[in-house]
Symmetry: C2
Subunit: 205 residues, 2 copies
DNA sequence: AAATGTAATTGAACAGTGTTTAAATTTCAA
DNA sequence: TTGAAATTTAAACACTGTTCAATTACATTT
């Protein structure tokens, strides 16, 4: 059955080539401004071929979207070695933010863009599996913090959401260029500075 | 000069009609999916006419964008009557969030969408005038809070950004449907609940 | 009232888009 | 070598933002 196998691999390889081309184009010029023809040009095939590998443009987006979460989860691995739960929580915030700042377009795809997410969520009623994993890890870390006496009087689910919202807010305002309202000489480091203010607060809870 | 005046008014009226049509279409189906032809259809003119009133589609977006900030600033007026700066800060957060939840598409246009913002910022080098106003008011409120002894050890500019990021994060994750990761029965009120957790924290600072 | 000049408006055209589909080509087992 | 199956293509469809020459409408002047 070696031949069937090779054909399988060839098919898989072309699918991969489409994804690589789509990713670089999406990150280069944005999802909306990347056309199917652009992608086809880059892999030197005709536009039609793409529809044999993906239902539509959204499905390409979705595939890349999933890849982004794998990347983020991988970065999060180091957290296992941080014993103190409060330190772990802060390290998690730093990893989240550095991922976002190092891969702003991918972050955009994962957490800000709206375009094809009906597809992501509604399909398979699996409640946005990729995002759920990281959120649950945050939630567990908050639980651990509470077990050792932090966050007294707080409600863990809503608190987790609030903390996520804070780090997301810090990076997403920056990515979408709403930082121009802060003093010009503070703009360059405003995300890190804002995170530091947040840590000052966490240290008191 | 009555005739020239009337023509002036007519011109202004058609401009307004374009904006009204564009706004309802943008909020109905999104900016990207609204075409110039859609707008022209709704006002019963030919597509070309729109380019006599606006340079391009971005300029229409920009005009609506400005309108949104007027709306928000108007809602903020009541804050003048809140004497206690810490209460004023919290009231500001509540107004911000209720504005966002009541006008999610307008909020999207103002703070989340990226599309035509190069235009908004780069033109006139005026540092995003509309957004700057509300941020400065937040910044002033933080200063007032510090004057009466709150936020000791904090840096006001970065703290203001962090607080804005938190409320923005709360609403923008919700608007872009990233809330499906929280427990299903908590989803409906997660923005309000998250805000409450934030207030619990502010009360201790 | 008729002619003129100007501003408003149109509709066709251009170059692009996502997607579908019939046809052509290639591949490969029998 | 043949014939069927899989792969790939090119053309078409209906859309997009934008431009622009031509037309229409109309206030002003003669």
């Amino acid at each position: 059955m070696g031949i069937a196998d090779r054909k399988e691999r060839d098919k898989e390889e072309l699918r991969e080539r489409i994804l690589v081309a789509a990713k670089s184009l999406f990150l280069e010029k944005g999802v909306e401004k990347t056309s199917i023809r652009n992608i086809a040009d880059r892999i030197e095939y005709s536009p039609g071929i793409i529809y044999h590998y993906f239902k539509d443009k959204n499905e390409i987006f979705h595939a890349l979207h999933q890849g982004g979460f794998l990347q983020l989860m991988e970065k999060m691995q180091v957290l296992a070695s941080v014993r103190n739960p409060m330190e772990r929580l802060k390290a998690m915030g730093s990893i989240y933010i550095s991922f976002a700042m190092e891969n702003p377009d991918m972050y955009d795809l994962m957490f800000i863009k709206e375009a094809p997410l009906d597809h992501v969520f509604n399909s398979e009623h699996d409640h946005w599996k990729e995002g759920g994993g990281t959120f649950n890890y945050l939630r567990m870390t908050i639980d651990n913090c509470m077990e050792v006496g932090h966050f007294k009087g707080h409600e863990p689910e809503a608190l987790s959401y609030m903390i996520w919202a804070t780090v997301h807010g810090l990076v997403s305002l920056n990515i979408r260029k709403r930082c121009e309202v802060v003093l010009p000489h503070r703009q360059e480091n405003i995300v890190a500075d804002g995170l530091e203010e947040f840590y000052k607060i966490l240290d008191r809870l």
